[in-house]
């Protein structure tokens, strides 16, 4: 399905959000103002190191903010989508919806 500018919807897919683990992270964070690192890890079923790596990539892109704090003596890390991360995710979902409406393969 083409857009007003004549380009296919796939051109609006966000390369950073598109990767499966990062897509899952962003999808979880889209439903909350903030989520604990361990909650995201448990929800999307990845290891600490994998989550860390992808969160760093999202943070570098300006899509996720990381807040470190303490509860008692235990360190806790909180993740949140930034405004641009939320906008990127919405644009990505809109592109997916357009593609999902196509019948033939989009290549």
């Amino acid at each position: 399905m083409t857009e007003a500018d004549g380009r296919h919807a796939r051109h609006r897919l966000d390369e950073i959000v598109h990767a499966p683990v990062r897509f899952s992270i962003v999808a979880v964070l889209a439903g909350v103002d903030e989520a604990e690192f361990a909650f995201v890890r448990d929800t999307i079923e990845v290891s600490d190191s994998v989550l860390s790596k992808h969160v760093s990539r999202l943070e570098d892109a300006g899509y996720v903010s990381v807040r470190k704090g303490h509860v008692g003596k235990r360190p806790r890390t909180w993740l949140a989508l930034t405004t641009s991360g939320r906008q990127a995710f919405e644009r990505h979902l809109a592109a997916l919806r357009t593609i999902a409406g196509d019948d033939p393969l989009v290549t």
Binding site: D33, A35, E36, A38
Partner: protein
């Protein structure tokens, strides 16, 4: 490995959309905790208004201060226990608390003070004031709870 975005099929797009819908559920338990806190804040402010009519100003202030300490402890416990802050919860809590405070300080307290000076304060008036003070926080709590239920 993932297909690059240029090779996404409609079926893959549908799968990703389904995953996005399933993943963004958040934690209903955390939403209920924040909603419960917001209810407690509203009830505490309303009780403060009633206490001012029941007991001396000093006793009412002491009792309300005690309740505020308990509320702060409750909020700290939520901060330790909750693993998420559901979407828009903070905004709703802040709007509810601000509106309740404004109603209390700008409307109910001046009206009750004036009526007590000329001796016309009645229980229905006090209760109506208490309800008016609690209402914004209670509405915020309902909205927090509903936002979790509709996901």
């Amino acid at each position: 490995m993932t297909d690059p975005p240029s090779r996404v099929t409609p079926e893959q797009a549908r799968q990703q959309l389904q995953e996005a819908a399933a993943r963004s559920l958040g934690s209903p338990r955390d939403g209920r905790l924040y909603a419960a806190f917001t209810v407690c804040a509203g009830v505490t402010m309303a009780l403060g208004i009633v206490l001012l009519h029941l007991v001396s100003v000093t006793a009412a202030v002491v009792a309300t201060a005690g309740a505020v300490v308990l509320l702060s402890a409750f909020l700290m416990w939520i901060g330790r226990t909750a693993r998420t802050v559901p979407r828009r919860t903070r905004t709703l809590m802040q709007v509810g608390a601000t509106a309740s405070t404004v109603v209390m300080l700008m409307v109910v307290t001046p009206l009750l003070t004036m009526s007590s000076l000329d001796g016309t304060t009645s229980w229905p008036m006090v209760l109506a004031g208490a309800v008016a003070v609690a209402a914004p926080n209670l509405i915020a709590a309902v909205l927090i709870e509903r936002s979790m239920a509709t996901r």
